[in-house]
């Protein structure tokens, strides 16, 4: 009997703590598969950030460091500038990257740090219980916007990848989605491109992954996937926002 699919060695044997229907598990798998396929697992250092993915170091089969809220790109900078031969990535949510960590992400891009950022955007603070994030959509209900996000009060959601596309030294920027197998395959290619960008010393790469938070959104897993497609993709269009040639 031929084995046609097996779990990537990029993941450990530890069962994840993620809620049913959460797409963090898919994102972890894609990162693990990409690093395995590129032969990088043994030469990679990952930076876990505050949020549901803080425990990603229990699940990803690479050396990892835990970072304070928003600071992962600065920590990754310190690592990469010490061991430039290693592959260094951050794995950050939108509460982390798009709110408290805006300075760190903008300036890592600004310096053209040769790191890869996996940016998981589920439009909410998941771990702390479903509060409004800068990425929360207009009208979306959260525990701190109980009547839905009012744009006249809280502004319009921040489009981080488009924003980073204005940073001259950012090298590779793509937004993908995890709501459907077809899109998951595209997301995997985006992650591979992000890591290749780093391997080829082309500088800062970021892959934004639109993700679900069924618990925070108050939806069942299937409805959450449908909500992502119907609401997030129109506001957060998929595609490549910046690419060096030949990546």
């Amino acid at each position: 009997m031929n084995v046609i699919f097996s779990k990537t060695s990029g993941l450990t044997e530890t069962a994840t703590h993620y809620c049913p229907g959460c797409t963090h598990g898919i994102a972890h798998r894609l990162v693990g598969e990409a690093l395995e396929e590129l032969g990088l697992l043994g030469e990679t250092i990952g930076c876990a950030s505050v949020g549901c993915s803080i425990l990603s170091y229990n699940y990803l089969n690479v050396d990892m460091i835990e970072c304070s809220h928003g600071r992962a790109p600065a920590v990754a900078t310190g690592i990469k500038r010490t061991v430039p031969e290693k592959t260094v990535f951050t794995y950050q949510g939108d509460g982390d990257l798009a709110s408290i960590g805006t300075a760190e992400i903008v300036h890592a891009a600004h310096r053209g740090e040769n790191i890869t950022v996996i940016f998981v955007n589920n439009a909410i603070y998941g771990m702390t219980g479903g509060q409004m994030a800068p990425t929360t959509l207009p009208g979306q209900k959260t525990t701190t916007a109980p009547a839905g996000r009012k744009t006249e009060f809280s502004g319009l959601p921040l489009k981080m990848t488009e924003m980073l596309a204005q940073v001259p030294s950012a090298s590779y920027l793509e937004r993908a989605s995890l709501h459907h197998p077809k899109y998951i395959r595209k997301a995997k290619k985006a992650i591979l491109r992000g890591f290749r960008c780093q391997m080829e010393h082309r500088g800062f790469s970021l892959v934004e992954l639109l993700s679900t938070c069924p618990t925070g959104w108050g939806l069942d897993p299937v409805a959450a996937l449908e909500w992502l497609e119907a609401n997030m993709i129109p506001y957060y269009p998929l595609g490549v926002f910046r690419a060096p040639e030949e990546v």
Binding site: T12, L41, G42, E43, T44, I45, C47, A48, I54, L55, Y57, N58, L60, N61, V62, D63, M64, I65, E66, C67, S68, R71, A74, V75, A76, T77, G78, I79, K80, R81, T82, V83, K86, T87, A103, E104, V106, H107, H110, R111
Partner: protein, 355 residues
């Protein structure tokens, strides 16, 4: 070795290179700017790496990443910048990452001023970040001692797997003095140590550097292990200089640049026929309480002198434990005490007019 006339901040920076510093992350703030400026120029020539961060918050997190990857890394700032770094310093203490942090103190609170002060004593000895942790705080009083202490700081950081503070101030940073520098230490990255992140090379389990422990029993164990280490440091590393203390009737306590001024006052009082002495803590944490355990029988009073409104005073009182009255004299806001005002205050105390 010959002596070189150098500015304090530059002597500190050069001594750090000689002490094997390989990575420095800087952010501009007065009065410490000569440290990043010097290292931007000189550290790459010595095979090291200087990087300017976008903020003190980023600088301390870059330090965390670099040291976690095995670098002999250092940052410097001044008081408000150190306040910004405290989140990262708590993290460095929790994760037991060896590194060196220089504070060239200026007056506060808030943005305060840019003149010398010692009002960061609490910030340097009482945490500042969250949680139960301690940071070794070395307080030099001369440029020579600054140069020696920064080299020692890297050794202590490695020995105990802990961040170490150098507590300088705007006076020590900006003054010029002859200093003799020694090339001392190796620049080897300690990549063989079992906690450094190197990538697992597919031949060992992945390593994690972390502070989060959601199980309270596990977190308590981690805290108690840290406390055990701090106790070892307290026993082994507290140090002070005693000056003319043997038969002193009045004992000054002062650290850093203030202690130099106090020495003038001690000599002045002896010329006036009064026996004064000085205890100068060289480590602020661990505080050298031992120096106050057996006060000379002649000692009628202790006076703590600081360029602050009275912070080390708490530690002096705790160390004296009521064996003698403890007085205080402080200048603040960037004002520097003169030996004459200290002598006058001392004579008031000795004549019983202290209050």
């Amino acid at each position: 070795m010959t002596k070189t006339l150098m500015k304090g901040n530059e002597a500190l920076a050069l001594a750090a290179i000689h002490g094997g510093c390989t990575h420095f992350f800087g952010y501009p703030i007065t009065p410490q700017n000569e440290i990043p400026e010097f290292l931007a120029r000189e550290l790459p020539k010595a095979g090291g790496m200087f990087l300017q961060a976008e903020s003190e918050i980023a600088a301390v997190n870059m330090l965390y990443g670099a040291a976690a990857a095995g670098a002999r890394a250092m940052i410097s700032s001044s008081s408000p910048g150190i306040a910004l770094m405290q989140e990262g310093i708590s993290m460095l203490a929790a994760t037991e990452i060896p590194c060196v942090i220089v504070n060239v103190m200026r007056a506060g609170p808030g943005l305060g001023g840019i003149q010398p002060a010692q009002s960061d004593y609490f910030q340097m000895t009482r945490g500042g970040g969250n949680g139960d942790y301690r940071i070794i705080s070395l307080a030099p009083a001369t440029l020579q001692e600054s140069a020696e202490m920064i080299q020692e700081a890297f050794e202590l950081a490695q020995k105990y797997r802990t961040p170490v503070f150098i507590v300088s101030d705007g006076m020590l940073g900006q003054m010029m003095e002859p200093v003799e520098l020694s090339k001392s230490r190796s620049k080897e990255r300690g990549t063989e140590q079992p906690w450094i992140l190197t990538g697992h090379h597919n031949n060992r389990a992945p390593r994690t550097i972390k502070s989060l422990r959601l199980d309270p029993a596990e977190l308590e164990i981690h805290n108690l292990q840290l406390q055990e280490k701090y106790e070892r440091i307290s026993q082994a590393e507290a140090r002070f200089e005693a000056y003319r203390e043997v038969d002193a009737e009045l004992l000054f306590c002062a650290f850093g640049s203030t202690a130099r001024i106090v020495k003038n006052s001690v000599d002045d009082l002896h010329q006036k026929g009064r026996r004064a002495g000085l205890i100068r803590p060289q480590t602020l944490w661990p505080f050298p309480s031992l120096a106050f355990r057996s006060l000379p029988k002649s000692c009628k009073a202790v006076i703590c002198v600081e360029m602050s409104c009275g912070q080390m005073l708490d530690d002096v009182k705790l160390a004296v434990e009521g064996r003698a009255p403890v007085h205080f004299y402080g200048r603040c806001g960037g004002m520097i005490p003169e030996p004459e005002e200290l002598s006058a205050r001392a004579l008031d105390i000795l004549s019983g007019d202290a209050q």
